[in-house]
């Protein structure tokens, strides 16, 4: 990997990290450029291997699909997985499996960096406090813009250095990795998405019986050849039917209780 390529990847790593205002904020940055799927295409373009880049991106994406960050608590750092794991695997001549093998440990190491930035960035609200106490609006803006600096240096810098200096190491690792090791990362990588979904379940289950809905969705896809789009339409229909049935009950208050009890029976 040339220095210029590493620099470009570092810049995109920053653009896809969590605190970038540049491209439609968190929507275009973290939630779009930052997704491994999109990173795969960008890295593929930079390194001149779009096909393998996209495949690696899609395979690494599967690790982190559905991962939410409630209160900034992250289970793994997607940024390093996407912008260090994928480029290193491609530069070392690997594809999807190798990208997954590198992304799993990198996403865990990257968590340290994520938490470090989240911690040192607590300095800037204090700068803002001082400005607010003086009624200095420009000071608020200054603190907001300055908050981007550590994020930029650490995110772009770390990804760039790891990509540039890490290529020989990655080559050595990938070429000498025993088959068992690669298999281990594959097995672990396929189980890791369970965490994202478990966090979603933890957050979404307002009532215990709702777990059956998750099971329903699982079985619909797992046991039939239904596509996710078809399932989404089916799910919308189920939700509307449920809400309508609740609404048509004469009194508003007893209705939810009765349905709740009914559905409890299905759970047992």
């Amino acid at each position: 990997m040339t220095f210029f390529q590493a620099l470009l990847i570092g810049l995109f790593a920053y653009l896809g990290s969590k605190r970038t205002p540049w491209f439609f904020g968190v929507t275009g940055g973290w939630n779009m450029i930052g997704r491994p799927l999109v990173a795969g295409l960008i890295v593929g373009l930079v390194l001149g291997d779009v096909r393998n880049g996209v495949i690696a991106g899609a395979m690494v994406q599967a690790l982190f699909i559905g991962q939410i960050t409630p209160g900034g608590a992250m289970p793994a750092d997607v940024n390093w997985a996407a912008y260090v794991g994928i480029p290193l695997a491609l530069a070392a001549g690997g594809t999807g499996e190798q990208a997954v093998a590198l992304s799993v440990p990198l996403s865990m190491l990257g968590l340290g960096l994520f938490n470090f930035i989240m911690t040192i960035n607590a300095y800037f609200p204090h700068m803002g406090d001082k400005a607010a106490a003086k009624g200095d609006g420009r000071g608020i803006h200054r603190a907001t813009y300055l908050a981007a600096v550590p994020s930029f240096i650490l995110r772009a810098g770390s990804a760039m250095l790891l990509c540039y200096l890490g290529t020989p190491v990655a080559e050595m690792l990938i070429n000498n990795m025993p088959a068992g090791m690669l298999h281990f990362f594959e097995v672990a990588g396929k189980m890791l998405p369970a965490i994202g979904f478990a966090m979603l379940l933890k957050q979404s289950l307002s009532k215990q019986w709702m777990l059956v809905l998750f099971l329903l969705g699982w079985v619909m896809i797992g046991a039939t050849s239904m596509s996710v789009t078809a399932l989404a339409i089916f799910a919308t229909a189920v939700a509307i039917i449920f809400v309508m049935a609740q609404g048509s009950a004469p009194a508003t208050v007893p209705a939810p209780q009765s349905t709740e009890e009914e559905d409890d029976c299905y759970e047992e």
Binding site: G25, V26, L37, A76, G137, K190, K202, G217
Partner: protein
Amino acid sequence: MKNKNQMEGSLLTRKDIDKAAWSYIFFAQATQNFERMMGLAFCHVMEPVLKKLYGEGTEEYQKALERHMQFYNTEPQLGALIPGITIAMEEARAKGENVSEELIVNTKNALMGPFAGIGDSMLIGTYSPILLSIAMGLCIQDGNPLGPVLFGVVWLVTIVALQWFLFHKGYDMGIGAANMFFTNKTLVEKITTGLTMMGLIVIGGVAATTVKAGIVYKYVNGDMTLSLQEQIFDKIMPGILPLLLTLAVWYLMDKKKWSATKIVLGIVVFAAVMVFLGIM
């Protein structure tokens, strides 16, 4: 308290609101940190509006800056409604209506929790995984760049439009939106229940396509080979092991309060042991 629409002569122009909406879309998450989360950025978005409403150098302006520096955290994209409502409340206060500082702060604090929950599970947990899994289906085999492009374009256009709409809706409805949220509990409950139900079914489906766990161990006894995966688990239900794994992880996180990091390490160690023993 009157609805904003019934009031004549608003102090802010449509252009001010548009500017604030763009500022919010770009900066909402830009200063995230463990202490205040989105607090500083919120103040950054509000500042031009506050300057226009109260005037630079006034005590009101200075106090307004301070109250928007406080801790604030929600899912920024669906939460775009909240700064809209806040601006409407600040405007009402500047016009001399009976809107106390506490009411403004309390409204923000009361709304941020529910919006974080619904936003995380609907946008990040359901909508994004649906788009991602469609896009991944297009490209995981042959590396077709259409997959990531499709995801990026659809996500960006719909979510930016959604934020733009919610921000303006929040401002237009003003305190009415907050009141609706607090008084019309049954409607809010219905919407949340419906969205949660839809989300859970889809999440279940997406999980089934991504979480994988299989046993490679074969029991050999003389001429007889018994593949545990094919002859036992697949007969019960294809994908039963990943389903049990997901439920176990959920149980540990939700009921046993394990942290995500602990679970990640747990899975890695579990995988290492299983691979070492030749089971998986």
